[in-house]
Amino acid sequence: MVDIQNLHYSYKKKKVFDGLSITFEAGNIYGLLGKNGTGKSTLFKNICGLLKPAKGEVSVGGQLSKLRHPGMLSKLFMLPEDFFVPSVKVKEFIATLAPFYPNFSYSDFDKYILEFEIPIDSKLDQMSMGQKKKALIAFSLATNTELLLMDEPTNGLDIVSKSQFKKVMSSAISSHKCIIISTHQVKDIENLVDRISVIDNGSILFNASLAEVGRKLSFHQGIHPSAKEKVVYSEETLTGISEVLYNESGEESKVDLEALYKAIMIHPSTINNLFNS
């Protein structure tokens, strides 16, 4: 779906990507993680063609992103972190924007709007921040585009809305869609994503499916520490000790995304050796 080869991109003085290569396949929900300023949003913009790579190629569905051809643009939708809604009613928004997306489903949109409790006769710009975001999430899912990019989609959502988000997202998964969610709030995408990609220093630090993570690592919360040789990463928490261990049982464990992310950031070589072996 998305093919990024040898991507080089710099802002005026800051180098962001230096030969980054990664592919994102249809039928998956990717969690894109990384520290602030590592280039998650820049990667999204390169995928959409909003930024043009200095070197390398980014293509969506076989079409070069930088050309911004309508055929390529109709295959994707991006929900940016600093999103915008026009000063129109939800109905008008749908009536004038949905025709650009050939697979837009009005029934799906009604379903999501109902789930998110969005007033359809209200003007978008007069809604609360959370409602605006939910309206855009509903629209983005109803477009049924092959690629959906969501940058911090749960920012500004309250606890109820976050669970609504998870529910709606789970119902929107299909084999022809590729969804990439960039977030700092890893708890919000737990049980939702099936692959994790971590960016650091302009390159991909980690990229694996959660199934593979669950097979190779196990996650433990307790009071007593495990034997040192079994531990990849451990951290004291308010409730005891959170540990990432080598999975020696052979059974797939439930992944604690937050602990995994910390383990990757603190012991990248240990994790990569384990996953590349």
């Binding site: 913009k45 051809h69 643009l73 940016p80 999103f83």
Partner: protein, 312 residues
């Protein structure tokens, strides 16, 4: 071809553009209406249009006896209408074109705009259609919404004045342009010297629109003021180049007895030995032609290529 230009997608984009920006455009139209209303009222209040005062009397300047159907060269309401129409067109067009590509003022809005599944050519054409053609139609409509009642008001007042004070007969007045369509549609009523106002104002309208549209896509924030400064600097460079570099360089390569004429020339004003700065005729026409056709086309093309390369 359909990747770059598809008419059904273009019409969709145009509809989407108008729906999303209708509030802004309605405010702008209301602003034009009220500013136009105030200016027209001021013109009516402060000006006496003496053109028809000469009907049936000897003209003080030329000594000719004015016939009802004769045109008079003094300022008439038609001339004022033309000046208002053309100057308003130029000024409002420039201000309106500064809100073209308004989506680039805000990062989120710019992303929303650029990821819409339409080609850059279609997005650019939408801006041209709205800011050049639809603006022209809307401006003209608003102008005549104001102009027709104001003209009727002026004509009715003058009509009563001639009937009652000047004892002019209704039959004579009927032969004049009192209620003739040309009273409202005034495009052929300027004097011979003043018709140059048309190409000048249209060139300002087209070049101004194209220049500010280019500025709007070039700059992300405060594009109007940045474009204004860019325009001033460009104009200064043009004058500097013409006066100091171009003229002197050309004089070096010209025969000794042949003086190359610069853009501006000093003209001795009678016995006063005073000078006024006038643009040489051939330079003026070159400039008007360039500003009407070549410069707008180049600037519109620049805004298209800048849009294609625009990064957010």
């Amino acid at each position: 071809m359909s990747e770059h230009l598809n008419f059904s997608r273009l019409s969709l984009l145009l509809k989407n553009h108008i729906v999303e920006h209708k509030q802004r455009y309605l405010y702008y139209a209301a602003g034009m209406f009220f500013i136009g209303l105030i200016i027209m009222m001021l013109c009516v209040s402060f000006n006496h249009f003496p053109g028809y005062a000469n009907i049936g009397h000897t003209d003080q300047v030329s000594g000719t006896n004015m016939q009802p159907t004769e045109r008079v060269s003094v300022t008439t309401w038609e001339a004022v209408q033309t000046i208002l129409y053309l100057s308003g067109l130029s000024i409002f067009a420039v201000i309106f074109s500064s809100v073209s590509f308004v989506n680039f003022n805000n990062k989120g809005e710019a992303i929303f705009y650029l990821i819409k599944p339409a080609s850059q050519l279609e997005k650019w054409l939408t801006e041209i259609i709205v800011h050049v053609f639809l603006f022209f139609a809307a401006y003209t409509l608003i102008f005549y919404l104001l102009d027709i009642p104001v003209t009727l008001l002026i004509r009715s007042t003058e009509y009563s004045y001639y009937l009652e004070e000047m004892k002019t007969t209704d039959a004579v007045l009927r032969q004049t342009r009192f209620f003739h369509p040309s009273s409202f549609f005034h495009f052929s009523t300027l004097s011979d010297d003043a018709w140059i106002a048309y190409p000048v104002c249209i060139s300002i309208y087209l070049t101004g629109t194209a220049f500010f549209m280019y500025g709007a896509v070039l700059f992300n924030r405060f594009s109007f003021f940045k474009t204004l400064i860019l325009g001033f600097v460009t104009a200064m460079l043009y004058v500097f180049y013409s006066l100091l570099v171009f003229e002197n360089t050309m004089s070096l390569f010209s025969p000794a007895d042949w003086r190359f004429t610069s853009i501006f020339r000093g003209v001795r004003n009678g016995e006063n030995f005073s000078f006024e700065v006038k643009m040489a005729d051939h330079w003026m026409w070159t400039l008007i032609f360039s500003l009407m056709f070549i410069v707008p086309m180049v600037l519109f093309a620049c805004s298209y290529f800048k849009l294609k390369e625009k990064e957010v």
